[in-house]
């Protein structure tokens, strides 16, 4: 049997993801997490009236990251993730999960070389991508500013 033929057989017969179930889970969980975020935005705008919008947004991110970290730590977030998939990865809580989970996993190798060194094995690419795009967009805006 040829490689190509075999690959076709595998592609035709391997079990596929159940789109309906996974998409509904992702939609529902993602939506609920965003609603929790919205609730914090509304709450902080009321109790911190003299903060500007960006600062409130930052505080909301930090709160959501705290919640994501906390639920990762008590072992709930990975169970949620196995059901919700994209619904729990894409919100900022998923970013927190990708930082906290390696930190917890590798703390057995010691605080410095285990936990601290490997904290960003999953989330590292996000910080690199963010920093690079920050520099690139900053330079673009600066050059545009030169011509105005």
């Amino acid at each position: 049997m040829e490689d190509k033929q075999y690959m076709d057989y595998i592609h035709a017969n391997a079990q596929k993801s159940n789109h309906v179930v996974t998409l509904v889970w992702a939609f529902a969980v993602g939506g609920v997490i965003c609603c929790i975020g919205q609730a914090f935005i509304d709450l902080f705008t009321v109790i911190l009236p003299n903060w500007d919008k960006a600062k409130v947004a930052s505080l909301v991110s930090m709160t959501m990251i705290f919640l994501g970290s906390f639920f990762t730590a008590i072992g709930v977030y990975d169970k949620l993730g196995s059901k919700a998939g994209g619904g729990s990865i894409v919100p900022i809580t998923g970013f927190a999960n990708s930082v906290v989970s390696p930190a917890m996993e590798f703390n057995k190798e010691g605080i410095v070389l285990g936990m601290m060194a490997k904290m960003f094995v999953v989330a590292g690419p996000i910080i690199v991508a963010g920093t690079v795009s920050s520099v690139v967009s900053g330079v673009i805006y600066w050059i545009i500013g030169l011509f105005n």
């Binding site: 993801s17 789109h19 996974t22 998409l23 992702a26 939609f27 969980v29 993602g30 939506g31 965003c34 609603c35 975020g37 919205q38 914090f40 935005i41 509304d42 930052s58 505080l59 909301v60 991110s61 930090m62 990251i65 970290s69 906390f70 990762t72 730590a73 169970k79 919700a84 998939g85 994209g86 619904g87 990865i89 894409v90 900022i92 970013f95 927190a96 990708s98 930082v99 906290v100 930190a103 917890m104 996993e105 703390n107 605080i111 904290m119 999953v122 690419p125 996000i126 991508a129 963010g130 920093t131 795009s133 920050s134 520099v135 967009s137 900053g138 330079v139 805006y141 545009i144 500013g145």
Partner: protein, 122 residues
């Protein structure tokens, strides 16, 4: 009623963003790091072309709580810094990331000191 409608919009748009991510997961077997980078860059792109603020006005947390919001705050910082000078243009983006990153690193460190990882089942 106004507030309730805001939550419905946040739910719908946030759910939609996550559902798009799930389609990518189902179709391409992408891992979570790739998904996160992709949506971060999507946020950066939407902010750069100036579309993000319209979605944000409509959906609120529906677009800012997903990692796309993180991408957009970076670009907002860069835009703000570019008005002052080149040094601020390249550093203010990271300054806007600082809140989230600080929280992630601190809580990561703090919780990893206390808690240990366990298998999903059993």
């Amino acid at each position: 009623m106004e507030i309730f409608l805001g939550y419905v919009k946040a739910f719908a748009i946030g759910g939609l963003v996550c559902m798009i991510a799930q389609i990518f997961i189902n179709k391409t077997k992408m891992t979570s790091a790739r998904i996160l980078v992709m949506f971060l860059l999507l946020g950066v792109f939407l902010e750069l072309i100036g579309v993000f603020k319209y979605i944000e006005n409509f959906a609120g947390a529906g677009i800012t709580v997903p990692i796309t919001g993180f991408g957009s705050t970076i670009v907002k910082g860069a835009k703000e810094g570019a008005k002052i000078g080149l040094f601020e243009a390249v550093t203010y983006g990271f300054r806007n990331m600082a809140g989230g990153l600080t929280a992630a690193i601190f809580f990561g460190f703090f919780f990893a000191l206390i808690f240990r990882s366990h298998s999903k089942k059993a």
